[in-house]
Subunit: 406 residues, 2 copies
Amino acid sequence: MKLEDVRMKGFKHRTSFQDAFKIITSIIKTTDSEYISIENSPKRVLYEDIVSTLNVPNFNRSCMDGYALRASDTYGASHYNPIPLKITGEALAGEHKAGIKKREALRIMTGAKMPKGADACIMAEYTEEKDGYVLIHKPVSGVENVSKIGEDIKKGSSVLKKGRVIKPYDTGILASMQVRQIRVYKKPTVDIIITGSELVEPGKKPKQGQIIDSNTYILEALLKDTGAILSSKKRVPDDYKKIKKEIQACKSDIIIVTAGTSCGKKDYAPLIVKETGKLLVHGISMKPAGPTGIGVISKKPVFLLPGNPQAVCIAYDFFVRYALTLMQGINNRHETTAIGTLTKKIASAIGRTDIFRVKYDNAQVEPIRSGGASILSSMARADAYLVVPENIDGYPQSHEVKVRLF
Amino acid sequence: MKLEDVRMKGFKHRTSFQDAFKIITSIIKTTDSEYISIENSPKRVLYEDIVSTLNVPNFNRSCMDGYALRASDTYGASHYNPIPLKITGEALAGEHKAGIKKREALRIMTGAKMPKGADACIMAEYTEEKDGYVLIHKPVSGVENVSKIGEDIKKGSSVLKKGRVIKPYDTGILASMQVRQIRVYKKPTVDIIITGSELVEPGKKPKQGQIIDSNTYILEALLKDTGAILSSKKRVPDDYKKIKKEIQACKSDIIIVTAGTSCGKKDYAPLIVKETGKLLVHGISMKPAGPTGIGVISKKPVFLLPGNPQAVCIAYDFFVRYALTLMQGINNRHETTAIGTLTKKIASAIGRTDIFRVKYDNAQVEPIRSGGASILSSMARADAYLVVPENIDGYPQSHEVKVRLF
């Protein structure tokens, strides 16, 4: 067992924070596609461009309550010199009425089809009705208050592109185009293996030296938030054979193992990945979450996350989230960032990427004091990450920084 | 019918954008509470503070792989002058080992309980093992690499407060505190009534003058996104009696009616709210979504949203979303905003709040050209709102503005 030498000696080589992302990119491929109905489409990712097979709207519509008319009939109209037009009838939304001629107008409601011969609408408030005539108090220009054919979406155009994460509004666009089913990337499936002989599940009373497992809950919630499916979750003691057996039993797109990822005597996970696949990253020059590992077993990406819950959160948010985003083919991904000024100075080590938890409020960035990777409650006090790159030794107070909101 | 006079005459009085929020605040009360398990807690809202009944961690733990020792035994140690300490054994995570005395050390793994007598840990990489002794190459300070009792969460403290929207990380905090069930605000229930004789559901072929209903899909997706439950959805033609019957049949916390909210002949919804309850707002000085109405029927808030899909999105995102946030008792709500510079000038009307759809990319804010409220596809091209208040007539190119990301 080659790795035996490494354990209890610390990491020989740490991968840089930036290189970790490059390695992830190199091992991830997108999921297959499936068809879903538009009702279930929000947050799913388009597998292909949606090309409209029709114009939206597919006829000229009034977008006001008022009168459909010929704009040229209104030139010169004013409050003192109103121009009378003969009212030919009324068009409600959903109706189809006969066309109008010169010096005629059709009373029309929002959404109703424009009659032939009319090129504009005037709002009811600039008119007055009298004896079958409407008195026009204001000139209008052609196409005023009219939604033209294809104005919203042109037939043959593609409004929603491959790789787009569907927003609530998009469901309306899809419905307008008469699309009921769309082709999307499948949700990635994930197996999680929580290792640690000291862990008991919530509800059970911990014995001396034992603690409650919180990582299962955190990962379950994070996976849901990222659009992945948790296929299986297992709690396993620090036992080489048991961990290996569970890793080998995984059938999902991605495997996540927590704890036992460092260089301690009982850190079996890196050893198992090395034996049964490829261990591409073991140790990243970052804090927290330095003892993170990344590998591949039978073409399946494997993420080894340090056991401290806060390190799990951070390693997940940066590395696993990135991998799942790539797997889902997302191209309009952008992390929500904000700019603010530091309320106090922060110090960071050269050669290491430091990830601070900060409170972001009204463009003020307040670093959260945290004793170390084990302080999960700092995640509750914070609402953003501040990443200090490896070539920077910190920032002075009042420095302007970009943070990534949770 | 008093309102009869108003129809076809335009709005007599429009409520200001800011006042609309004050009116919403005055008619909303929070929902009741319910108990849920922590697995289902993300995005739910705490109904009460969570006070920890225990210390986390509840014993002193090593947060390194290395050796537990007395810091005072290491003073003066260096690579050239290593100090030998007798190894008394090994503590793995989950184990409870006997204490150590002066000049002794216990081999210890991350997460293991610190033995009595030890006050610090040294990382394995600063040591060397030899003949049952560990040679210390570096002095350590007391409490180095140790997670102290209650360091993460102190017994009796309250990390998660009433009104907090639960984040994925919080589930881990709750699990650590041995909390399995929490009391949250119930999800608000919503009935939607989509009016319009011109509407057909997707899949059916529209006749002359008819269009596809997209608002049902948009609202269903938006409600889900806001943490509300859609109790019922109805499509009703522009028929006074039918709309009134459906409004009176509503049993949910909130009623949303789309279309028929303006001053047209067939705009029955405001009339019905006036007859059966109180119509507090009819017309807001904003664009788009000006013809929005807000009222109360039997203490139930009613939102009348203009029928154009884009206006539905905007009226929802500003008014309904705000109401549902208040109902859920959320106190750590903050809209995700970003600062950027305008790529071109925008013009706005004094006395009216204008809401622009913009594309936000890398601190650049590009206004989306949109012919009017009916251009739903502009919501797909945009990813943020820019609100121009009523006392501002626009902004020049390169002006710095704050936008609200979707």
